[in-house]
Amino acid sequence: MPSQQPTENHLNPIIIVGAGHSGVAVAAGLRTRGWDGDILLLEAEKETPYERPPLSKELLKAGAPDESTVLRKEKFYQDKRIGRRAGLAVDAIDPAGRTVQLSDGSRLGYHRLVIATGSRARSLTVPGARLPGVQALRTRDDALELKLALVPGARVAIIGAGYIGLEVAAAASAKGCGVTVLEFQDRVMSRVTSEPVSRFFEQLHEQNGVRFVFGAAVTAIEGVDRAERVVTADGTSYPADVVLAGIGVVPNQELAADAGLLCQDGILVDGHGRTSVPDIYATGDVTRFTSTIDGTSQRLECIQNAMAQADQVAADITGQDAAETEIPWFWTVQHGVRLQTAGVRRADDEVIVRGAPADGKFSVVYLRDGCLAAVDTIAGLADFRPAKKLIAQKARIDPLLAADPGTPLTAAVFAAA
């Protein structure tokens, strides 16, 4: 592979801020693409960079080891000459001087800067939200704290029925906790999936002892020294030993915004990960960009996007072409049942259920203007790969054939008119 080697400023490293999924993938991708110059990963957390998906899944299980799943083994960084400084945050960027300022006061010059600071859990703002016993789940420390609190008999109140809240609900009920999920909307995962899928997962959780309260607006958390109950707008209070807030994430964009990079609920980037300031890139959860599929402005919070944008950045820095971007996709596992989604559903898509939810295994197909836009697969992956391909092709789908689980999705495509 031909590759552009460092020329000007070659004494300075490529600095990557944030060693999460995306930052580490940029570092690895630069080496794979032949970049020979110095690479420095700066990370606020102390430990070896790790995977987040297991934090709400495997790690919480009874008997599961506390060790996190690392993204790459320590040896990898040495072998690939990827420098790391852990436990140091970047406090400021000076684009004119091409330097970053670290939390220990030191300054480092960069050749290219990559902002991969991810997102953080949105905080609850109601009175009592800071009481001990109230927490979110984003980091390994959060997960270990939660794991300790999930003891048999503990009363767990989960605020928000998104995928993290529900994965925790599943783990907590499996451990013998009494779990109540308080959700403002009228169904679970309403932002990411359709009603049939929501209803299926609600039933699954209820069969496992989880209680749902919909239309619940949390107004306060009360307790003397620590959280004892969650209060909702209708005056009901729910006793709780543990309160988990799973109410979405916000991008860690302040560093960029302060340095004058254009941000709008996410750092704005183009299809190469370039920000509004030359030689500064951004990638992963922290970005907002225009979808190549339907032209909408979006912020995606998933591994697929963290990896795809990392490749775009590594490709642009080395003057190469990025790999073709996968269709956005996502997975969650609750009570051992996997929901895997390809594409980004919209609320006004036509919804076609493929198979019978009562069988415990089905898919839901989403059509937009007659074309395949997204698919949810539940407890089976047979439709997943065909769906990714057909979504990329914007294939026109026959709704009647798509509703028949016996017909492969590829055979439900209308022949070109």
């Binding site: 080496r31 794979t32 697929q304 990896m307 790999a323 996968e326 089976g380 992956l381 997943f384 790969r385």
Partner: protein, 107 residues
């Protein structure tokens, strides 16, 4: 345990000789040696971007594929009933010393 030797045929048909370390899955050995394996799910049998072909004699010695693995592979380009595996589902084993794996086409 000592490393395994591993021969990889990439998507252009070129051959690479690698060391497969005992604490790596096959996917990790490929990915960490700069072969173009995206592995976007981190090895949880979700993405199928780590699809490889094994020789039938080697394939036959391995444990059965899980249902998730099978469903993801069955729809893959070039699927081989007696050769396709998700490399993230293959742990190191000394029995696999010296094997040749071929990267499946990208989709």
């Amino acid at each position: 345990m000592s490393n395994n030797k591993l021969t990889v045929i990439d998507r252009e048909g070129s051959t690479h000789d690698l060391e497969w370390e005992p604490d790596q899955t096959l996917m990790e050995a490929l990915r960490d040696n700069d072969l173009p394996v995206l592995a976007s799910c981190g090895g949880t049998a979700s993405c199928a971007t780590c699809h490889v072909f094994l020789e039938k004699e080697v394939f036959d010695t391995l444990a059965e594929r899980s249902e998730d693995e099978l469903e993801l592979l069955a729809e893959a380009e070039g699927y081989q009933e007696c050769g396709s595996r998700l490399s993230c589902q293959l742990d190191f084993s000394q029995d696999l010393d010296g094997v040749t794996v071929t990267l499946a086409p990208e989709e």
